[in-house]
């Protein structure tokens, strides 16, 4: 795996694997940061490292070059970069063994009806030990799980459904909450066909730009925006007939540390 790095603000990153080359043309994957992002050209192979605002990352950087991988600055950034490269190199498909190794605990619930959303969230939350995290974590996960599940149920087949109706799905939607040594994982998977990157970016962008709910659609158009802002890593993993959405949270006792972190955005197509 040949890697080209041009990320002056992240010069102290220590990547262990891969062979480093000196020109972008020679490389399989290129790593830039927000100061050099203008040089990026290739959505699939260019990775953006950033320590600036979420808003700038989405509106300015990603809208310019639709990179599939934005990695926000954190104490674990090297690990995150390694993992990303490793997944890309092995076929671009996120799975727990690579993305969330050695889980310590996990609880999963399957939902068939939209009416089960509230109770399912309460269930996974009550089965989780929040003692070594800042106490707001619970409320954040509750909100994010709600947004993801509502999307999973009401965005069937690309159609935005009336939120007051009950949706029953043949293939149940899994809701999972798990943790390992360094992170917490929240996972929801839908069967609404793959979520196109353009659509995802458009939704996020609108959220950052307008910061108000949409009145012209069934949904308010802020779900993904909330999720991205409040999680540390937002990972979309395209599957056969749906999308797996994963939120990763760094384990942290301090809320401040948690909020300081710039959010990462990963889009895996499994090609």
């Amino acid at each position: 795996m040949k890697i080209y790095i041009n990320a002056p603000e992240f010069s102290d990153i220590n990547l262990k694997r891969g062979q480093f080359v000196n020109t972008p043309e020679e490389a399989d994957y290129r790593i830039y940061d927000h100061s050099t992002w203008d040089l990026a050209k290739n959505p699939d192979k260019d990775i953006l490292l950033s320590s600036v605002d979420d808003e700038i990352n989405i509106l300015e950087h990603l809208n310019k070059v639709h990179s599939h991988h934005l990695i926000g600055k954190s104490s674990n950034i090297a690990t995150e970069v390694e993992r990303t490269l490793s997944i890309l190199d092995q076929g671009d498909h996120w799975d727990p063994s690579k993305g969330f190794p050695s889980p310590i605990s996990s609880h999963e619930v399957l939902l068939s009806s939209s009416k089960e959303i509230k109770n399912s969230i309460d269930e996974v939350l009550s089965n989780f030990d929040f003692s070594d995290q800042f106490n707001e974590q619970k409320d954040i996960i509750r909100l994010l799980a709600n947004e993801l599940l509502v999307n999973a149920f009401y965005h069937q087949l690309g159609e935005d459904q009336d939120r007051s109706s009950e949706i029953i799905l043949e293939t149940p939607v899994p809701l999972q909450l798990a943790r390992n040594e360094s992170s917490v994982l929240l996972r929801v998977e839908d069967t609404n066909g793959g979520f196109p990157y353009e659509k995802m970016l458009a939704s996020l962008s609108r959220g950052f730009r307008d910061k108000t709910p949409r009145q012209d659609t069934e949904g308010a158009g802020l779900g993904l925006y909330f999720v991205f802002k409040m999680t540390n890593q937002l990972i979309l993993n395209l599957k056969e007939n749906g999308t797996e959405i994963i939120c990763m949270f760094d384990l942290n006792k301090r809320y401040k540390e948690y909020m300081k972190r710039v959010s990462s955005l990963h889009y895996y197509t499994g090609k």
Partner: protein, 155 residues
């Protein structure tokens, strides 16, 4: 989805205090308090467990239906709602004020983050007021500029 939004009202003189509890989501209705027409509205959000994106919309739309010259204040705003207020415009209606809200503070001795109820006027120049618990000084555990952003929007 079942609505668990509860609105408890206290209507006295020219004021109405509404204690909001439960989830504010797509099922939320504010019918009960739409026709009240008092001069002063006080929303106590202490019991709000979640406001999702659809709930934010319901809330904003509801606010628009209140009398234009009504005096609106929010109190006991939970931390996560503060975050959402900072993320969304129009949540706090122009002219409305938040009088008290929860903020995270870190207690080094106990190694835990606690929620402290702050009065908005305790925050001077965007600085978190100093707080202590059982004699230990607490450290404000959020980014001031970010967390107190909403105070700049206040009327």
């Amino acid at each position: 989805m079942s609505t668990s939004l509860k609105l408890e009202t206290q209507i006295l003189d020219n004021k109405v205090e509404v204690k909001v509890s439960g989830q504010i989501d797509e099922d939320a209705t504010f019918e009960k308090i739409l026709n009240i027409k008092q001069e002063v509205y006080i929303f106590d959000l202490e019991g709000v467990s979640l406001i999702n994106s659809c709930g934010v919309r319901e809330w904003i739309n509801f606010l628009e239906k209140l009398p234009e010259d009504a005096d609106i204040t929010y109190k006991n705003v939970p931390q996560i709602v503060v975050e959402q207020i900072n993320m969304v415009q129009g949540f706090v209606r122009p002219g409305a004020r938040i009088t008290s809200f929860y903020a995270p503070y870190y207690n080094e001795e106990k190694d835990e983050v606690v929620k402290v109820l702050l009065q908005s006027d305790e925050v001077a120049n965007g600085k978190a007021p100093s707080k202590s618990e059982d004699g230990t000084d607490l450290e404000f555990d959020a980014i001031e500029a970010q967390y107190f952003n909403f105070l700049k929007q206040q009327g």
